[in-house]
Symmetry: C2
Subunit: 300 residues, 2 copies
């Protein structure tokens, strides 16, 4: 299960970074190979100051070794070894009419002292964070997610769409981080799904990413925008930072287990604003967005 | 103990906001009175887009009622009532040569079912976060802290200086948030200190705040700075955000117990940058700052 998925995310990283460079037309990804002292490492690719993308990262990592203390507690196991690999991406566009996107596909194995696999699962998803809402973009993104899901089980889309709305939620602001997409975790062998079936599902979602996001970028990247609209984007990026640093389990886990800080925090936007008690004008496009974030919609 | 301390922080808020408005010369504080549904409330005062201060807040709150669930767990008590009051301030100057400052002075009481005080303590401190290091400013700030401490007990300054360096530490970056000052908590009745003695100590520190900070602002506020130096300030402000959202107990506690979000998050800087894997040039003033943040100095 492990080798083919590692090969898959390596290839997917190439496919995605190459597509993103083509759309951007100006900037290219900077690559950093890093090693984890306790075992494994990663390939971080970051794009900055592009024509379309202000900042973004498309990273893969494959790490293994003794399960860190904090994770042993979390999973309620002792002296286990683990293997984890995944691709994580965040893209922060320059134009506030283009949404930020996040995606992640990962695979995890846990071993006992004899090296036998005692647990294994897939996780991941993809979700959209717009600054201005274009219904047709939200519908396109969610429909693409649904098509990928439906090929495997028609119950997956509603289930993982709801989990995404639940997970990417800024409880202290009582609003979603964005308009969601898919989120799934602990996808394990069951009566109806083998690990191979889950692998096929997760790679199906991974393969749908570019067709879910790229058409939206193409359609919005050349729209005109004002200084006020750029400010709004930067204020909303502040909420993105709040979610990632206060609520996101992946980020906090990375920060507390000596992960590679720069690869973890590449998700943070390039320019961010916090204003005191900022509220959009009644009836504005900005207020319309907030209302949708407070009450997730059924987009398909 | 409660009434005089409440009266003290109300008056101190007036003194500090009035002094800050005078130095700024352009902006004034906007005041928001708020009520906490479960009991008590506060007076938030925020300054934005000033000539000297880009953003800042000087807030007081007096809250009471049933001790929230999360706090009961934290203190290992059941069905307790509480009273808490304090003044919290953060000032983010425009000029990167002027340091950001944070201070807090607070008092807490816990009651049993009959309304009897079962526990009470003071806490607080003040600390400096420079973007460019002027040794004489750091020395002035720490000496002022030390003078206030020494009037009560010569062991206080070294103890609370060390606690400040420990507390305001970005573990995931392996560097201090700033160059410290004082931090103390759970100041309770002991063989040598009555609650009245602690009150005298905490108000002494509160009274020292303006003389610790204002001379530094006066000296640096009109220095020239470049776009690169402003960028550096905004990148360092990113570390400030990381500390407040990832590590600061007060902020996280507020976010998780339904505090007034805008009063809590007024501490976040107005304009912030995150760049991937940013490192200052070897031998630069920026690198010099980092070295001191990695190895706290004895300033007095």
């Amino acid at each position: 299960m492990k080798e083919p998925f590692v090969a898959y995310i390596r290839k997917l990283q190439d496919t995605i970074t190459s597509a993103i460079e083509t759309i951007d037309g100006a900037a290219t990804f900077q690559e950093d190979l890093w090693k984890r002292p306790e075992g494994g490492g990663g390939r971080t690719r970051v794009i900055e100051n592009g024509a379309v993308f202000e900042k973004g990262g498309v990273n893969i990592s494959e790490v293994h070794g003794k399960l860190p203390e904090s994770m042993q507690q979390y999973f309620g196991v002792k002296d286990a070894d683990f293997f984890a690999c995944g691709l994580s991406l965040v893209l922060h566009p320059k134009n506030p009419m283009v949404p930020t996107v996040h995606a992640n596909w990962r695979y995890f194995e846990m071993y006992d002292a004899s090296g036998t696999i005692v647990d294994q699962w897939f996780g991941g998803g993809q979700d959209l964070t717009p600054y201005y809402l274009f219904d047709e973009d939200a519908i396109h993104f969610h429909r693409t997610c649904k098509s990928a899901c439906d090929k495997h089980n028609i119950s997956f889309y509603p289930k993982y769409k709801a989990r995404c709305d639940e997970y990417f939620y800024n409880a202290h602001r009582q609003e979603g981080r964005g308009i969601g997409g898919l989120f799934f975790d602990y996808l394990k062998k069951s009566d109806t799904m083998t690990m191979k079936d889950w692998s096929a599902f997760v790679t199906e979602v991974g393969n749908s990413f570019l067709s879910a996001y790229v058409p939206i970028v193409e359609k919005r990247k050349d729209l005109l925008f004002t200084k006020q609209q750029k400010d709004w984007q930067e204020i909303r990026r502040g909420r993105y930072v709040e979610f990632n640093l206060v609520h996101d389990k992946g980020t906090l886990f990375g920060l507390k287990t000596n992960g590679r800080i720069e690869s973890i925090l590449m998700s943070l936007p390039p320019q961010v604003q916090w204003r005191y008690d900022h509220h959009p004008e009644a009836g504005s496009k900005e207020e319309e967005l907030i209302k949708v974030l407070q009450n997730p919609k059924d987009w398909v």
